[in-house]
Amino acid sequence: MKRILLMGNPNVGKSAVFSRLTGIHVIASNYPGTTVEFTQGTMRVEGEKAILIDVPGTYGLEVTSKAEEIAVKMLEDGDAVINVVDATNLERNLHLTLHLLEKNIPVIIALNIWDDAKHKGITIDVKKTEELLGVPVVPTVAVTGEGIKELVSRIPEAFSPKIAERTEEGRWTEAGRIIDQVQSLQHRHHTALEIIGDASVKPLTGIPIAILAMFAVFKLVRFVGEQLVGNVFEPIFERLWQPLMMQLSSILHPGSFLHSIVIGKLIEGEIDFVQSFGLLTTGLFVPIGMVLPYVFSFYIVLGFLEDFGYLPRLAVLLDNLMHRMGLHGWAIIPMLLGLGCNVPGVMATRILESRRERFIAATIISIGVPCAALQAMIWGLVGKHGGGYVGIIYLSLFIVWVVLGRILDIVLKGQSPELIMEVPPYRLPSLQTISKKLLMRMVAFLKEALPMVLLGVLVVNILYFLKVFDVIANLTSPVITNVFGLPKEAVAAIAVGFFRKDVAVGMLGTLDLTAKQLVVAATVLAMFFPCIATFVVLFKELGVTDMLKSILVMLISSLIVGGLLNAIL
C-alpha cells in the first residue's frame, strides 16, 4: 500500500485535513523507539487504498527537535507528501515547503485556511505559485471541506522537482522572493476573532477573560455531566439494569460467595449501585454511570479549547506562575489534560524540554491534579454535604500543587527553560476533528478504566472475604485514626486507591463518614499515590529512581495535608 505523508507546520489545520481525508478507523501510535506520537488512517487514491500518516508538525527539516527527527525519518519511507500550508502565513510555511522540494519525494500542496486569507485581505496567485514551485497547489478549507475533493483527485499529479539544495538562509530568501511574486495584501479591518485573540493574550484583559473562561468551563463540564447522569445514565441503570440484576440476585441467592462478587451486598433488600459493590452493579455503575458522563463532557470542552486556540494564550498568561514552579507556561497543557485523566497528562509532559521539568510536572500532576473520574465521584459523594466541602478539597489540592511545585523548583538543581511558542490565531474548530478526537479519547478511557474498575471491585471483594483488610486496618489504624481522624475501616478504601481512585471514593460512600472525614479521606486519596495506570506511566516516563522519588513526595505530602486538614476542620 502507498504511504502518503501529511506534513506541515504546527497549527496549520493539518489534523482537520487528516480528518477530511481518512475514514473512521484511525489509530494513534508512537514512532518505534520514541515517545513521539502520530496518527494514521486509510484513504482512497484513484480507487486504491493508501495509508495516510499525520506526521508531527514541524517548522523545517533541520533536526532540532524529536518531532523533526521523526519527520525526517518518516520521509525516507513515504511515497508522497501532502504539504499542508497556512495561506495566512505563507512566507514562513514556504520554508518547510522549499526544504521538502529538495528531497526525492513527490509533493502536492494544500493551501489551507484559504477562507481566512481572503478575510484578511491576502490574495495569492495559485497558478503562479504552482509555476514557481513546480508542484500542484490546491486551495483548501479543511474545516468546511472546501477543495478537499480536488486535493484528492490531484494527488497522482504530485511531483518531485528535486530543486538544488539551499542553505537555510537561502530558503528564507527564496521564500521571500516567491511571496513578492504571488502574494498581495490589501488593507482591511481586524476580524472579531483577531480582536478577541489579542485581548485574551494581553494581561489587562487576558486575565479577567481567563478567569471567566475557566469558570465557564467548570460550570459547563458539570452541567453537561449532570444532565447526562440524571437524564440518561441513571434512568438506564435504575429502570433497565436494576430489574435484571434483581432477577440475577435471586438466582444467585443473596449471601452466597458468587452473589457477593457479582451483585454484592443488598442494602435493605435492594441493589444500591454505589454501595452494593458487586462486579455487575457498582463495578459497572461507577465507570459508566458516574464517571463516563463527566469524562465525556470534559473532553468535549477541552477539545474545543484546544482547537479554538485558547490554550497557548493561557500558557502565556500563566508563564510567570509556572516559572516559580520550575516550569514554563506551556506546562499548563499536561496539567489540563491531567484533569481528564492523569495518564495522558503525565504522557504529555514529554512536550517539556528537560528531565527536571518533566519530573516536577509529572509529580505535581499525580498529586495535585484530580482526574475527571475522581472529581466526578467527589462531586457525587462529597457534594451531597454541600459545595463548600468540595471547594475545600479543590482548594487544598490547588495549594499543594503550587507549594509543592515551588518547593521542588527550589530543591532541585537546574533552572527552568524559557517559553518559545507559537500563538496561533483563534479559529472556529472543525466539528469533525473535535468529534474524532473525542471518540479516540472516550475509547481510550473505556479501555483503560473499565477493566481496572472491574478488577478493583473483584480484588476488593476477595480481600474482604479473606479478611485481609481487617489485618491491614489494625496495622495502620494509628495513622488512619490519629493523623487523619478516620475510622480504621477507611484503610480499605485508601488501599483500593492504588487501583482506581473512583472506586476508592465509592468505597468511602459505604462507610457512613461525616462531611469532614469525607473531605480528609478524599483529599488524601487524591494525593497519596498514583492509580495503577498512572503508576505504570510514571515508571515509563521517569524511570525507576525518579518514580520512587516522586512517590515518596506523594506519601509525605499526603500525610502532612491529611493531618493538617483533620486538625484545622
Binding site: Y59, G60, T88, H328, I420, E422, P425
Partner: protein, 79 residues
C-alpha cells in the same frame, strides 16, 4: 533616530528589526524554526506583567517568548 534595544524594552505596537540574538545554539535553532532570526522584522503585540513573556508578530504568526530570551534579542527601532 534608530535605537538599539532588547525586545523587552520595545513598546507594545512598535516594530523593529532583529540585529542580534545573544543565546546559545539550541535557543537559536528553536527561534529560527519560528522565523525569528537576524534581519527579520518583528512587531511587539503584548507583554505580560512582571517579567512575563513577550508576544511578537513574526511573518503572519504570533510567537510568545519568555522574558529571559526576549531580553537577549536585540532590535533596531526607529523612534
Amino acid at each position: 533616530m534608530v535605537e538599539r534595544i532588547p525586545l523587552t524594552d520595545m513598546k507594545t505596537g512598535e516594530t523593529g528589526r532583529v540585529v542580534e540574538i545573544l543565546a546559545g545554539k539550541g535557543v537559536h535553532n528553536r527561534l529560527r524554526a519560528l522565523g525569528v532570526r537576524q534581519g527579520i522584522k518583528v512587531t511587539k503585540v503584548s507583554a505580560a506583567f512582571a517579567r512575563g513573556p513577550v508576544v511578537l508578530q513574526v511573518y503572519g504568526a504570533q510567537t510568545a517568548l519568555g522574558f529571559g530570551i526576549s531580553h537577549k534579542i536585540i532590535v533596531d527601532v526607529k523612534r
